[in-house]
């Protein structure tokens, strides 16, 4: 009976496993209790799509979609919504883009760009009711086909539709039907391949569970077209619910005469049997499937003969995938022209994808072919969570490949993905963020295919385990470049000489990661590092691995947790001599990889460092003693973090290191570009003083103009770390009026020259930290209104989110999607003309490129415009030394030795990388010092001693339970915008110790072969359940 409300409860596999059936039972109880049972109908449906938000409840007629519904939510839902009409807002979806609640499920971004053909009934009807299926138009196509069309006509229609096999290979479906139809045999067979086996792919299961009749109807139409009498569905035993629903659907169809003899009163008779497979991956291959279907060992045989000529029991056999059959009735009912109008050139219709991995919305999605990868990941998937960046998209499962972030504008089709070295495959899409190690990923897939190889043919059976063996060695840091060559050779051999599709595609994950991420393989082999900090054998802990200076974070944090502040400081000084500075301005790459975040939040490593550094300063702890003098002199040009670090480490090895600084103060950008409210000058000076005391000489006001002179003066090697100090100006016009300055000039003016002139209305152009610094500094100098104009979306600003938030607290206004096009004003600047931007296609960094929108230009009134949109190096010094300098003043150096093309001349820091971070410069300086030592005959190594784990003197287990991250005191907004006094406060001693104890000690949890921090992650998960 139709009631007032239809309440659809998703009973797809994922929702059921999150207890949707219990929710349904509770709904029944509550409706009884509220005496609503007559008005409200509960319907169990198949998969609705956004599986991670299950259990899902969809309420019609409004179309309100509730997510994560718990049994305890049901009473409220019934009392409020069903009885009183008040939608329960807390259970609604939230739009990621607009940050607002979305009531109607069709307006949820996840659904907006989807187009449901195959999944039209999934989540909309009761899969166990043939009547609902018929009500939704079911079996109409079969009726139409058998009563009004000839078999040839059906085949012609399928051909014209352009549908291609959805199982992976993409063979034109109509052509395949035609092959079978043309076979003379009186007996033929139709088989449905439901042996879905790609890890993470579950579209076939969803269709069978959510809309089994659509498959039955598709198969029946196919049987009619090719002249078959029997059909088989080969489905794996791991899909019990699919089997159950399919079985009941078959019975219902037979009962209605939709299967069996004389269907629709015609001469056409057809019935279907279910065959349950044991779940071998190889049985998804058609010849192996047929062997298994016949009851033989499921191994493939070479084609030809193809199943269309000799398949099951040597009969002509039509074999299609579940999703392919699910398309059939729509094509017959609505016509091939309609279907062919969807999609792109050679790829028509829609494709169902199982979206998983590092993406906000995981689940099943159906999109028209031609949808771009970026739309799939960002618009439907909601992008990458946890502030991480997108690295690549893996499509096609173990037979597929990885597509790097620069191809987000690629429209999805069989051809385009193949061109990129990936495949559409059965539709698995795994979104990979920056924390994914591509070597490890390839290893995972090869491990899968090696264990699923049937063992019949040699290249696949024996070759894949050899590839796995090599990948194992590489991820353990034991691989050689010869191994890499052999890996590639094996991959090609297996791909081209294997018997069946399993072996022929199994090397794809390796080949595609080699194509786009070869550098990552080489990093594992040559540098013994895993850039994503995944391969456990190659690092101490994720924090240490992600630190460009490789500071032994677990060791010093653990010393802090013991209250051994001085020991912590000593550990830090081994790899990073600027703790005070880094304790304030470091980007804290370490925190982004901290495993503690799996419990609540990362450990506040930077604030801990700051506490430690302040302690060291107040207790006048000295750095390590310099090494015994070896009589060799090395010149360092520039006294920024790279120069200071290089000088410091050279002095440690006994070199006489002399830093030449052109300015009257040392510190480079740290002194000229970072405002004092972030980095107080006494802290800067204390860090530098300590380095000087370990034996480094700094010559201020000593610009170097000719590197040759240095060698002539007896320096045996030179390290050039001159930074990227030249501010770029955006093209704002030929001659700029007064009041337009670069961020570099502006900030330097304040801290070096003591300037304090600022306009009332300041507009800052840019989105990086130097833009934020300029804006906040302008406020402090008395600007009444400070606006930042940024051409992309706020979320894309390269500045650290923390800085952005603080600036906004202080009253800085951020206008995103606003691109400056010109200045207004005569002699003095009066305003900035800006174009309104719209999000365009994706760029190589995976962000949407801003494109001019149709909104009119605006003029921001401004008495001062600060252009803080990038800095570059000049490269003059190195060019003068005959070294090739690229665009932007950058010099190519060896990333390990920092060596230039001229022996004895090394370079690093911003001068070679472009504007980067302090800690990256420190790392570069240290690497250069090691290389210089080796160049001058030293051992070129600094830490001969074994790393020692630090024991603790407290109950570590007590700290594995949830404990909020400590927050240091912050200066109040109203006081802080009046001066350049430091904004961020320092931990109290007890607070620091407590915070340090949140460390999970990943450094101890490395197992011989275990993936990174598996145990600390499981510890974290365990703690969460507690």
């Amino acid at each position: 009976m139709a009631g007032r409300l239809d309440v659809l409860v998703c009973s797809g596999g994922a929702c059921m496993s999150s207890h949707s059936l219990e929710v349904k039972e509770e709904l029944v109880r509550q409706l009884e209790a509220q005496r609503l049972a007559d008005e409200v109908r509960i319907v169990e449906t198949g998969c609705m799509g956004p599986c991670q938000y299950g259990p899902l409840v969809l309420v019609y007629p409004e179309g309100v979609l509730y997510k994560n519904v718990a049994v305890s939510d049901v009473a409220e839902m019934v009392a409020e919504h069903f009885l009183k009409g008040r939608v329960v807002e807390r259970l609604l979806f939230r739009s990621e883009t607009a940050d607002q609640i979305v009531r109607e499920h069709r307006s949820i971004p996840f659904f907006e760009k989807q187009m449901k053909i195959v999944l039209a009934n999934c989540g909309a009807i009761n899969p166990e009711s043939v009547e609902e299926y018929i009500g939704a138009g079911g079996y109409e196509a079969l009726g139409k086909a058998v009563t009004t069309m000839t078999p040839e006509g059906v085949v012609a229609e399928m051909k014209a539709s352009g549908l291609r096999g959805r199982g992976g290979a993409g063979f034109p479906t109509g052509t395949k039907w035609d092959f079978v139809r043309r076979e003379a045999s009186p007996k033929k067979v139709v088989v449905c391949n439901a042996d879905e086996g790609d890890p993470g792919a579950f579209m076939d299961r969803a269709v069978l569970e959510g809309d089994p009749h659509t498959v039955i109807e598709g198969m029946a139409i196919a049987a009619y077209a090719v002249g078959a009498q029997r059909g088989y569905v080969y489905v794996r035993a791991e899909y019990p619910l699919a089997i159950k629903r399919l079985r009941s659907a078959l019975e219902a169809a037979r009962k209605l005469g939709l299967l069996g003899d004389r269907i629709f009163d015609t001469a056409f008779s057809f019935d279907i049997e279910i065959r349950v497979g044991a779940g071998a991956f190889v049985c998804g291959e058609e010849t192996a499937l047929l062997a298994s279907l016949e009851g033989r060992r499921g191994v493939p045989h070479p084609r030809p003969p193809y199943p269309s000529t000799s398949g099951m029991w040597q009969l002509p056999t039509l074999l299609n995938n579940v999703e392919t059959y699910a398309n059939v009735r729509h094509i017959i009912a609505r016509g091939s022209a309609w279907f062919a109008s969807i999609g792109t050139g050679e790829s028509k219709g829609t494709k169902v994808f199982a979206l998983s991995g590092n993406v906000r919305n995981t689940g099943l999605v159906e999109v028209p072919m031609g949808t771009t990868l970026g739309e799939l990941v960002y618009d439907i998937g909601g992008g990458v969570p946890n502030g991480k960046t997108l690295k690549a998209i893996q499509t096609g499962g173990p037979s597929g490949g990885c597509i790097p972030v620069q191809y987000l504008n690629t429209p999805i089709s069989y051809e385009t993905l193949k061109e990129l070295g990936a495949i559409v495959g059965s539709g698995g899409v795994i979104v990979l963020d920056e924390d994914t190690c591509m070597v490890n990923l390839a290893r995972y897939f090869v491990e899968f295919t090696a264990s699923e190889s049937c063992g019949q043919c040699v290249p696949c059976r024996s070759g894949l385990v050899r590839m796995l063996d090599i990948l194992d060695r590489i991820t353990r840091g034991e691989g050689s470049m010869e191994d890499l060559a052999l890996l590639e050779e094996l991959a090609h051999t297996i791909k081209r000489s294997s018997l069946c599709g399993l072996g022929q595609t199994a090397p794809n994950p390796v080949l595609s990661t080699l194509k786009y991420f070869r550098g990552e393989y080489e990093a594992h082999i040559r540098h013994k590092t895993c850039p994503a900090a995944v391969c456990a054998a190659l690092f101490v802990a994720p924090c240490e691995a992600s630190c460009p200076a490789h500071v032994d974070v677990p060791a010093y944090v653990t010393h802090l947790s013991n209250g051994d502040f001085a020991k912590a400081f000593d550990v830090h000084m081994k790899t990073n001599p600027l703790p005070g500075i880094c304790g304030r301005v470091c980007y804290a790459f370490c925190e982004t990889k901290c495993q503690r975040a799996q419990i609540e939040e990362s450990v506040a490593i930077r604030d801990l460092k700051r506490f430690m550094a302040d302690y060291a300063m107040e207790h006048q702890l000295a750095g390590p003693k310099p090494g015994a003098r070896n009589g060799k002199r090395v010149a360092v040009v520039g006294s920024g973090p790279a120069g200071l670090s290089c000088g410091y480490f050279l002095a440690q090895r006994g070199y006489e290191a002399v830093l030449f600084e052109a300015l009257p103060i040392a510190g480079g950008t740290m002194a000229t570009g970072i405002p004092a409210y972030r980095l107080p000058r006494d802290i800067l000076e204390a860090d530098i003083d300590r380095i000087v005391k370990t034996g480094v000489r700094i010559e201020l006001l000593s610009p170097v103009e000719d590197l040759g002179r240095l060698f002539a003066d007896g320096y045996e090697a030179v390290f050039v770390a001159t930074g990227a100090m030249k501010g770029q100006t955006v093209a704002l016009g030929e001659t700029l009026p007064r009041g337009v300055v670069t961020g570099v000039e502006f900030l330097k003016g304040i801290h070096v020259d003591g300037a304090s002139e600022v306009g009332d209305e300041v507009v800052v152009i840019g989105g990086g930290n130097s833009a934020i610094d300029s804006a906040r500094a302008a406020l402090r100098l008395g600007a009444k209104r400070v606006t930042i104009a940024y051409r992309r979306a706020k979320a894309d600003m390269p500045a650290s989110p923390e800085e952005v938030a603080e600036a906004m607290e202080e009253g800085v206004e951020i206008l995103d999607m606003t691109s400056p096009v010109g200045v207004v004003g005569g002699e003095r600047v009066e305003g900035l003309r800006c174009a309104s931007m719209a999000a365009g296609p994706f760029d190589a960094s995976g962000r949407r490129r801003p494109v001019p929108s149709d909104r009119p230009e605006i003029v921001l009134p401004a008495s001062m415009v600060i252009v803080a949109a990038g800095q570059e190096a000049t490269g003059e010094l190195l060019r003068g030394a005959g070294i090739e300098v690229a665009k932007g003043g950058l010099v190519a150096v060896d990333p390990v030795t920092m060596g230039t093309s001229r022996p004895g001349i090394f370079a690093g820091g911003d001068a070679t990388s472009g504007p980067a971070t302090v800690v990256e410069a420190i790392g570069a300086g240290r690497r250069a010092a090691i290389a210089i030592d080796r160049f001058l005959g030293g051992p070129g190594a600094f830490e001969p001693e074994e790393r020692a784990e630090v024991a603790t003197d407290y109950d570590e287990d007590a700290y594995t339970q949830e404990q909020a991250r400590a927050v240091p005191p912050m200066a109040e907004v109203r006081t802080r915008i009046r001066s350049f006094a430091e904004v961020r406060g320092r931990f109290a001693k007890e607070q620091a110790i407590e915070e340090a104890r949140r460390c999970l000690h990943c450094d101890r949890q490395q197992t011989e072969d275990g993936a990174c921090c598996e145990s600390s992650a499981s510890l974290a998960a365990e703690a969460k359940t507690r």
């Binding site: 070479p302 090696a450 040699v458 290249p459 059976r461 050899r466 094996l490 081209r496 018997l499």
Partner: protein
């Protein structure tokens, strides 16, 4: 005796520019006219009877293609992949691919040879093929293949399998460490002897041949002890008891003889 009649165009094999002659027919033994196809193998144009595999046609014309799992008289499965040939840039197993008119086949291209060698290395690496004290030393197809394919060394690490020898059968034994999983024993047992004693179990690297339901061979009740598996095994894996180092000589050609005789009745 091959006589060629050219149905259209000029007659006589030597006289015919085969490339120009559209259909060639052969007066076979019975005098029936059988269509012949023209294929090009390693640049040579060759007449071939339809229904034959590339391997058969090549062998008939003195072109040798290395094989391991193939055996005359048994169904071909294309498992060892050593007989791959280049067919329009695709690699196909010559034992399972039937000739078609106009095919251009390369049996010795650089790629084909390199891949065969790599496959052979994989075979050597996955078993314990210690020729020096093997019963089949000097009479082993795998050993011969190393010579034929020019395999100097095995570049992937050897796995050193450790399977127990099954010597429970009174007359024969199997050392699975020497098994190359060609499946000839399985097929001969099925197709010729009809006993179905041999079969495969497990998959991937753990795949192995078993007797009955993985029972010791001596207790496999279906085994007729006919010894065909011993004769067809290309290596020393299945051997006669009592044969010592390098004493085992096998006669796989018996299978073809047997099947031909049976066909004649």
């Amino acid at each position: 005796m091959l006589r060629v009649v050219c149905v259209s165009g000029r007659g006589g094999e030597d006289a015919v520019g085969l490339g120009e002659c559209p259909v060639v027919r052969d007066l076979a033994d019975g005098g029936d006219l059988v269509d012949k196809l023209r294929v090009k193998i390693d640049g040579r144009t060759i007449l071939a009877a339809p229904g034959k595999t590339i391997l058969e046609v090549a062998e008939e014309n003195g072109i040798h293609i290395p094989t391991l799992c193939h055996l005359d008289g048994l169904r071909d499965v294309g498992a060892c992949r050593l007989c791959i040939v280049d067919l329009y840039g695709q690699l196909v197993t010559s034992c399972t691919t039937k000739v078609a008119d106009g095919m251009e086949i390369g049996t010795q291209t650089e790629t084909v040879r390199a891949y065969r060698r790599t496959i052979l290395e994989l075979l050597f690496a996955e078993g314990n093929h210690v020729c020096s004290f093997c019963v089949s030393n000097g009479g082993c197809e795998l050993q011969d293949l190393a010579c034929e394919l020019g395999m100097h060394s095995v570049r992937v690490p050897y796995t050193y399998r450790r399977e127990r020898v099954d010597a429970t059968h009174p007359r024969f034994l199997i050392d699975r460490d020497r098994c190359v999983l060609c499946g000839r024993c399985v097929r001969v047992c099925q197709e010729v002897e009809g006993a179905h004693t041999w079969g495969f179990a497990e998959r991937g690297v753990t795949a192995r041949v078993i007797t009955d339901l993985a029972v010791p061979w001596g207790t496999a009740e279906s085994c007729t002890s006919c010894g065909k598996c011993v004769e067809v095994c290309p290596t020393g894996a299945i051997a006669r008891k009592g044969a010592s180092n390098a004493e085992m000589r096998k006669h796989p050609e018996l299978v073809a003889e047997l099947t031909e005789r049976r066909a004649r009745g």
